[in-house]
C-alpha cells in the first residue's frame, strides 16, 4: 500500500477542508450558469422559451374533474408531499387550491405522513393569511399509521373538537371520507396517490380522485389513470406549468402562488445532463463492444 491514492496534506486556504478537485470544480460553474439562465429567462419576453406543455390533455382532465364538482363541493386534500420534492409541484398545487376555492369548494386538509403534515400546516397558514374564506378551510390534522390511518379515515375523518361549517357538513354526511365530493391527492416520495388508491379507492370506489405528484412518480401513477382509479393526474413539470397558466388565464394571477421553474435554466440543465450522458456513453463504448481479444505473446506461440 502506497500513499499514491491518499489526499495531499491540507495547506494554505484549503486547510481544514477538502481541496476541490475534478467534478467539484464544475459545480460552481454549473450553478453560476444556471443562475445566469434564470436571470436571462426572467428578462426575456414571455413565450421565448415555453415550459408549459402544448399537449393540454392532462390539464383538461383535471379541470374537467373540477368542473364536474357540485356547488359548494367538499374536497378532501390528502397532503402527503415531502419537503424535498414539494417545491417542484408547489405551483400546480397552489393553482389547484385557487381554482377550487374560486369555484366555491371547501378544502379539508389531512395528512398521513409526517412531512405532509408540515406542508399542510404551512399551506393552511398561507391560505388564511392570503385572505381565503376561513369557513372554506378545515384542518383534519395528522393521522398516524399511513395505510391503517387511511382505512380509519374512510369511516372517521373528523378529529375530536373539529368545528366550523365544513366540519358540520362532514358530520351530517357521516363523518368519513365518503362525505367528500372529491379527493385531491398531493404525493411525495413515499406516500401519495398510489397509497390512497390502494386503501381508500378500494373502499370508496365512487370517490373521484385527482393526483398531483412529482415527475419521478409519473411512471408509477399513469397506470392508475388508465384504469380509471385516478380521474386525472398532473405529474410532470410541463403539465404543472400548463395547468398554472390555464388557471391564471381563467381566474387571474394568484396573489401568492409560487412561479414555475425557469424554462431557460431547465433547458440549460438538461443540455448539461445530456452532455454528461454523452461523455459517459463514449467512455463506455469499448466495454459495450465486449472483452478485448487476448493478446498473443511469443511464449504462447511457442
Amino acid at each position: 500500500m502506497t500513499d499514491a491514492g491518499a489526499a495531499p496534506p491540507a495547506s494554505g486556504r484549503f486547510r481544514g477542508r477538502q481541496r476541490p478537485r475534478g467534478m467539484a470544480l464544475w459545480w460552481p460553474a454549473l450553478l453560476g450558469a444556471l443562475s445566469i439562465a434564470v436571470l436571462i429567462g426572467s428578462a426575456a419576453a414571455t413565450g421565448t422559451l415555453q415550459l408549459a406543455n402544448p399537449d393540454q390533455s392532462s390539464v383538461s382532465e383535471v379541470r374537467a374533474a373540477f368542473e364536474a364538482l357540485p356547488d359548494d363541493a367538499l374536497v378532501v386534500v390528502g397532503m402527503d408531499a415531502d419537503l424535498g420534492t414539494y417545491p417542484e409541484i408547489m405551483p400546480a398545487v397552489r393553482a389547484a387550491f385557487d381554482d377550487l376555492l374560486a369555484r366555491g369548494a371547501s378544502l379539508a386538509f389531512v395528512s398521513v405522513s409526517v412531512e405532509g403534515r408540515a406542508v399542510a400546516a404551512a399551506e393552511l397558514a398561507r391560505l388564511r393569511s392570503a385572505g381565503a374564506d376561513a369557513d372554506a378551510l378545515l384542518d383534519l390534522g395528522f393521522t398516524s399509521g399511513v395505510e391503517a390511518a387511511l382505512v380509519r379515515l374512510v369511516s372517521d375523518a373528523l378529529p375530536a373538537g373539529a368545528s366550523g361549517a365544513v366540519a358540520d357538513t362532514v358530520t351530517e354526511r357521516g363523518g368519513g371520507l365518503a362525505a367528500f365530493d372529491m379527493a385531491l391527492l398531493i404525493g411525495g416520495g413515499d406516500v401519495g396517490p398510489r397509497t390512497w388508491v390502494e386503501q381508500v379507492g378500494t373502499r370508496l370506489p365512487q370517490l373521484p380522485m385527482v393526483g398531483i405528484a412529482p415527475t419521478f412518480a409519473q411512471p408509477e401513477l399513469v397506470p392508475y389513470l388508465r384504469t380509471g382509479q385516478l380521474e386525472a393526474l398532473l405529474a410532470t413539470v410541463r403539465d404543472d406549468a400548463a395547468f398554472v397558466e390555464s388557471v391564471a388565464a381563467t381566474n387571474g394571477e394568484p396573489a401568492t402562488a409560487g412561479g414555475s421553474p425557469s424554462a431557460a435554466a431547465m433547458l440549460l440543465g438538461m443540455l448539461v445532463a445530456l452532455a454528461v450522458l454523452g461523455r459517459a456513453l463514449v467512455g463506455a463504448l469499448p466495454r459495450l463492444r465486449g472483452p478485448a481479444p487476448p493478446q498473443v505473446t511469443e511464449d504462447d506461440e511457442a
Binding site: P28, L34, P87, A125, S144, A148, G161, G259
Partner: protein
C-alpha cells in the same frame, strides 16, 4: 416566492436562514464540509423535535390520553393500546419478549394493510385493465408491444435454468429493455431534481437577493 414567509421581520429572518443553509449545503460541492455537517445536524435535530411534538400533540394526547381521561370506561380498547405504547416507550429497559409483542403487532399491521392494498388496489385492477377486449388497432399494437416487453424482461430474470440459444438471446434482450426502462425513469428523476435545483436558485436570486423580482 415560496409564499410561506411573512413580509415582516420574521419573514426576513426566515429567508436569510433558508438562504444561508442552502449555501452551506452547496458549500459541500466545493469541498467545504463544516457548514454541510452543521446543516445535517440542524436537519436531524429539527426533524427529531418535530416528530416528537407531532406524536405527542396530534396522536398521543388527542387520540389516546384525552379519551382515556374523559371517559375511562367508554374506550376499553384504548387501555391495551396504552400498554403497548408504554411497552414501546420502555423498550430499552424491558425484556425482549415483552417489547417484541407491540413491535410484532406494528410490523404485521403495516404489512397486512400494505400487502392487502397492493393486491386489491393495484395488482387485480391492473391485471383487469390489461385483459381488456381488443379495441382499435392502435391499442392492440400497444398491448402486444407491452406483452412482448414484459415477457422478455421476465425471461431476463431466469437464472440457473438450462437455456438454448433462443432463450439466451431473449434474456439478453430483456435485460437491455429493463435497462432502457430504468434509464427512462432516471430521466424523469433528473427532470424532477433539476426543477428543485432551479427552484433553489430562484429562491436565492429572487426571494433573498431581490434580483429579477
Amino acid at each position: 416566492m415560496s409564499g410561506f414567509f411573512d413580509e415582516g421581520l420574521a419573514g426576513v429572518v426566515a429567508t436569510w436562514i433558508a438562504a444561508l443553509v442552502t449555501i452551506g449545503v452547496w458549500a459541500y460541492l466545493a469541498g467545504e464540509r463544516r457548514f454541510f455537517r452543521l446543516a445535517q445536524h440542524l436537519l436531524a435535530g429539527l426533524a427529531t423535535g418535530y416528530l416528537t411534538v407531532l406524536a405527542v400533540r396530534e396522536v398521543l394526547i388527542p387520540r389516546l390520553l384525552e379519551p382515556l381521561v374523559s371517559d375511562p370506561g367508554g374506550q376499553l380498547l384504548l387501555w391495551p393500546a396504552l400498554v403497548l405504547v408504554l411497552a414501546m416507550a420502555g423498550a430499552r429497559w424491558l425484556a425482549r419478549p415483552v417489547v417484541a409483542v407491540p413491535a410484532a403487532i406494528l410490523v404485521a399491521g403495516v404489512a397486512a394493510f400494505a400487502l392487502g392494498g397492493a393486491v386489491v388496489g393495484t395488482l387485480l385492477p391492473q391485471m383487469a385493465g390489461t385483459l381488456l377486449p381488443p379495441g382499435p388497432a392502435g391499442s392492440v399494437v400497444n398491448g402486444l408491444i407491452g406483452l412482448v416487453i414484459t415477457a422478455l424482461v421476465l425471461v431476463g430474470f431466469l437464472h440457473g435454468v438450462p437455456r438454448g440459444r433462443l432463450m439466451v438471446g431473449a434474456a439478453g434482450t430483456g435485460r437491455w429493455l429493463l435497462l432502457g426502462g430504468i434509464g427512462g425513469w432516471l430521466g424523469f428523476l433528473l427532470v424532477s431534481r433539476l426543477a428543485l435545483l432551479v427552484d433553489r436558485l430562484q429562491f436565492l436570486l429572487v426571494d433573498w437577493l431581490g434580483i429579477a423580482r
